[in-house]
Subunit: 302 residues, 2 copies
């Protein structure tokens, strides 16, 4: 089943201890779409400027992504410049140029309004709800957010969360959003405010998924060579929502497998700069790593 | 089967955001012995001073721990004072008084030399090998170490590792010992130097076990109320070696279950100050949490 994703498409300049790349394809909706495209059809809703290379749009299309919702506006494309130290866990933002993204006001085309799976990437929570309001009747709404919206638009963010099925968020943001240092207690506070399921991303330490009935803990796939962690969270989200949409399910068993598929996509993504590895993957490689993940975490009963 | 453990028995003063305790029972061998005592017989080899309360020795005996190797020397008991911030991940040492522990030279009594499972706690690697040299023919030798010995006694530590079966170590120490930022690469370097299996403890982020044939990743059990992380690593080690000794096995399946039992013991331990929870546990509670751990990490095949 089709997914509609709204978020950023950017040109990133990235420095890690293993290299430097200038103005490569980036943005949350980019990583999400590429990862999800291995599982199902994806409609990308985002904005780029006049300077955005046609070759990148061609690249999306080659992966079967519907780019008819990718607006091209007068002005320059959103640019992000960041640097990672040796621990690779947190990016230091060196520069952000919002450019055309500053006035992004997503319009959902009539042919996309019936999408049953919706991913609201990390944008202004007002815009997230405006997108949701344009949709017919999505079956599953997942969303992302970041510390900036917790700091500056908390009330609007809470309204978005009250209508979301799944919130994907990192551990520091979980604690910040709930003003509570214990991760589990913070999760319960957030769940009380709306989303049925909370997916807490902990980078190289894996993922915890919490809902009213259960907790699922998955380690990150141990990657020998991490070259660039940019897009790990978004490629995780793409694999996660992508698998759910492909199987048209969102029960506990499906959610758990989706978490593992998300982890698999993130693990591939970080091995190369930018979204490079998400271009060259094959589905058998993804399945093989899913099975390796089972072997990595399996232990017998007593 | 019996375990012999050599390490520290101390009086700890601990401050966490949730309280303060002065001169309570502590030390690596204390936490290890108490956790392991739920699985098998344990002989404790350590040194205390004249001021060490008889009630603590009584406490060990009540848990069935053989204290005949616990020497009492002239002088004061080893004291450690530490503080944890809200993240609870790293202790800040405020004061260390080695006292009688400074001249600790463990003598293994004849009746203990036949122990088949040996745990060399975090002491001078010269002493670790001296203990090993006094043993008849242990079937499994596990050891711990810390950054101090990596900094000050690296060559001696390498000799100890060359004769150990299992090294338990945290992630920062793994990277430091191998001078390699990638955890997996660092692990391979350490394994090339001797130990057959490396158990990397990552605190609230779980455990990674690596040997030549496989990798096993286990999350930490999600604890709602962490009150005092002191002894988490040692109670993990106690559950881990305790289970192996009880089942007299060290194949991959047993090692994986042992990792989970170690995680279970650590998760109980951190819920109360000092080793308090390790006194009040029951084996059915331990088994129930092992099974909960399976539910926490289980996902279906595709």
């Amino acid at each position: 089943m089709e997914i509609l994703v709204v978020g950023s498409v950017a040109l990133d300049s990235i420095k890690t201890p293993f290299g430097f790349r200038e103005e490569i394809l980036g943005g949350s909706a980019t990583y999400f779409s590429l990862a999800a495209s291995y599982f199902t059809e994806v409609c990308l809703v985002a904005v780029v400027g006049e300077d955005f290379p046609e070759s990148h749009i061609e690249f999306f299309r080659k992966r079967g992504i519907d780019t008819s919702g990718l607006e091209r506006q007068h002005g320059k494309t959103f640019r992000w410049k960041g640097e990672y130290g040796f621990d690779l866990n947190t990016a230091k933002t060196l520069e952000t140029q919002l450019n055309v993204f500053a006035d992004f006001s997503p319009k959902i085309r009539p042919q996309h309004r019936a999408s049953k799976f919706l991913f609201l990437g990390n944008i202004d929570p007002d815009l997230q709800r405006s997108v949701l309001g344009q949709m017919d009747n999505p079956r599953l709404v997942a969303c992302d957010t970041m510390n900036y919206w917790i700091d500056h638009k908390l009330e609007s963010l809470k309204k978005t969360l009250s209508v979301a099925d799944i919130l994907l968020i990192n551990d520091a943001e979980t604690r910040q959003l709930a003003s509570e240092p214990s991760l589990l207690k913070a999760a319960r506070i957030i769940l009380a405010g709306g989303p049925k399921t909370l997916v807490i991303k902990r980078g190289e330490h894996g993922v915890v998924m919490i809902n009213a009935k259960s907790i699922f803990c998955a380690p990150a796939y141990p990657v020998e060579e991490v070259n660039d962690p940019t897009g790990a969270g978004d490629s995780f989200a793409g694999g996660f929502v992508g698998f759910l949409a492909a199987t048209e399910a969102a029960d506990e068993a499906a959610l758990r497998k989706a978490i593992v598929f998300g982890s698999v996509m993130a693990s591939f993504n970080v091995s190369e700069f930018g979204p490079g590895r998400l271009a060259s993957l094959t589905y058998p490689e993804i399945e093989a790593r899913f099975r390796e993940f089972r072997r990595l975490t399996f232990f017998d009963d007593i």
